[in-house]
Symmetry: C2
Subunit: 309 residues, 2 copies
């Protein structure tokens, strides 16, 4: 199975309101709830593609229970979340039905106690034994050491499990130095890490910091991959309108599924780019539209780029 790690899981709540006005009172017309956090999004897409996935990280409180209840209903996902005393955070997306715009409110997450972190590390090392690949996704909750991802990357490498890291800021900076097989920064994360806003330059810089391969997700420009096997750009056929929430997570699922299926790089990238665009196009944030995916997949252009700096 593929393992995804979400240390800062979330119960994602979406509110639809006719028009959001600060300082006013609003009657919410529609409420939806789903398990959230980047690793859980990746897992959902992997499962939809037919891959058995195990999810780990932390869950606690009433929100954690709601999240875990919702996970039980998803075929091919195994819940290996580690219980914590604090309550899993909520994220609230307020969709203005007049404009379609979304206002996001993200709780910080529960403080993880040292004993809870130790319990997680033990569970993680056990799970690695039966994993074909592992994705480490998202932000760190309070209490988890900032070097956490470096530690998790090293444990995966010691167990010979290919490891992908998708995070930002200092956890990315520390994690990449531990030599993960893949990192998947977006344009902002790449610029923050390297100081460069030129995508190819920044992607190469990121790779020099320790990752075996860097796949940068560049929104409408698709994906840029810099790997020992070559450099590629995968571009969807046209600019896709919709909600970009979860598009990066779908790209991660595309890359990992392609890896465990031993697809060559261009096919992995085409899948990742098509899944990403099909997620932007889906009516529900973070889901992918299967028909759009199948229609887009053969139309993604993958071009090899010169490898010289």
């Amino acid at each position: 199975m593929i393992l995804t790690v979400t240390l800062n899981t979330a119960l994602d709540i979406t509110y639809r309101v006719p028009s959001l006005r600060p300082h006013a009172s609003h009657r919410v017309t529609e409420v939806t709830e789903r398990p959230g956090g980047k690793g859980l999004n990746v897992a959902r897409v992997l499962a939809a593609l037919g891959h058995p996935v195990t999810v780990t990280g932390f869950a606690g409180g009433g929100t954690g229970r709601a999240l875990q209840n919702a996970l039980t209903g998803i075929p091919r996902i195994t819940d290996a979340l580690v219980p914590v005393a604090g309550a899993t955070r909520r994220t609230v997306a307020v969709v203005d039905t007049a404009t379609g715009d979304t206002t996001q409110l993200n709780e910080p997450g529960p403080v993880i106690a040292p004993a809870e972190w130790s319990a997680f590390l033990e569970a993680y090392e056990d799970l690695l034994q039966s994993s074909s690949a592992v994705a480490l996704c998202g932000s760190l909750p309070p209490g988890v050491p900032v070097g956490a991802y470096a530690h998790l990357v090293r444990a995966a490498r010691a167990a010979s499990v290919p490891v992908l890291l998708d995070t930002s800021g200092e956890p990315l900076r520390r994690g990449i130095a531990a030599r993960p097989d893949f990192v998947k920064p977006n344009a902002d994360e790449l610029a923050e890490l390297t100081g460069s806003h030129e995508p190819l330059q920044a992607t190469r810089d990121a790779r020099r910091r320790g990752a075996r391969a860097v796949v940068a997700s560049l929104g409408a420009q698709g994906l840029l991959a810099v790997a020992p096997e070559g450099h590629w750009q995968a571009t969807p056929p046209s600019r896709v309108a919709g909600n970009p929430t979860g598009a990066g997570d779908s790209a991660v699922a595309g890359l990992l599924s392609g890896l465990v299926e031993h697809l060559p790089w261009p096919d992995r990238l085409a899948r990742a780019a098509a899944l990403s665009a099909a997620t932007v196009r889906a009516p529900v944030a973070g889901e992918f539209d299967r028909a759009a995916y199948e229609e887009l997949l053969p139309r993604v252009a993958v071009t090899e780029r010169a490898t010289a700096a």
Copy 2:
């Protein structure tokens, strides 16, 4: 004991954010949660004043569990909430820490099934047997008949339990016709009910619709009472700055506690007005500031008004 009924209980969540901007993403810096819904607010104030209170209404789902867990910690409150299959609604108050302004998002509440409504009616009639007074508070969740409060008022009257109704719109219109002992509309509710924006005129009009006594809460102007025993105005000493959330609920608690302690009308009104102002002044929305209450109580001016129309 005093009984408070909250058919549409809520888990009240408060988010503090540095500055709320529509269509942006916000990191919530502080999250607080408390049991909410008008009848639960009334109960908390009654309990703080030393009165044993039983709360009923509905609770369900993870949010209902969180609400009931929080209630167990409050001395003198007995939880008699009836379980339902749907989840108790959340309300989210987003406080902009830069301006102090609040943006409110209210979920609609779970749909109550006919069998759940019947179970509530049975529990309510049992509870009335040991109640010295009952307050019927707030909006109706989906599935509860719009004439619900009229039914609950009649049951209280049949059991000879004094009944106060605090709601709005059609539930108030129907409920008042069933002849409750007290209604406590605010200025907007009064205007909606009677079509009149002149407080004394509207309060008298409301009384003619069936209530034995009407106590209108008029914000900074205090309370206006029209009862068979006389007409009074209770005015706090000065305009109080702060958050008016829950001020009306504190007034209800003041009126009911004064009723069961057999205080004369002017003393009940002084207490209600002081509690209301002390709630506006409290740092936490919906709590009252006890020191402010004790300081304000002797300074509330209660004046008798001519009873002629």
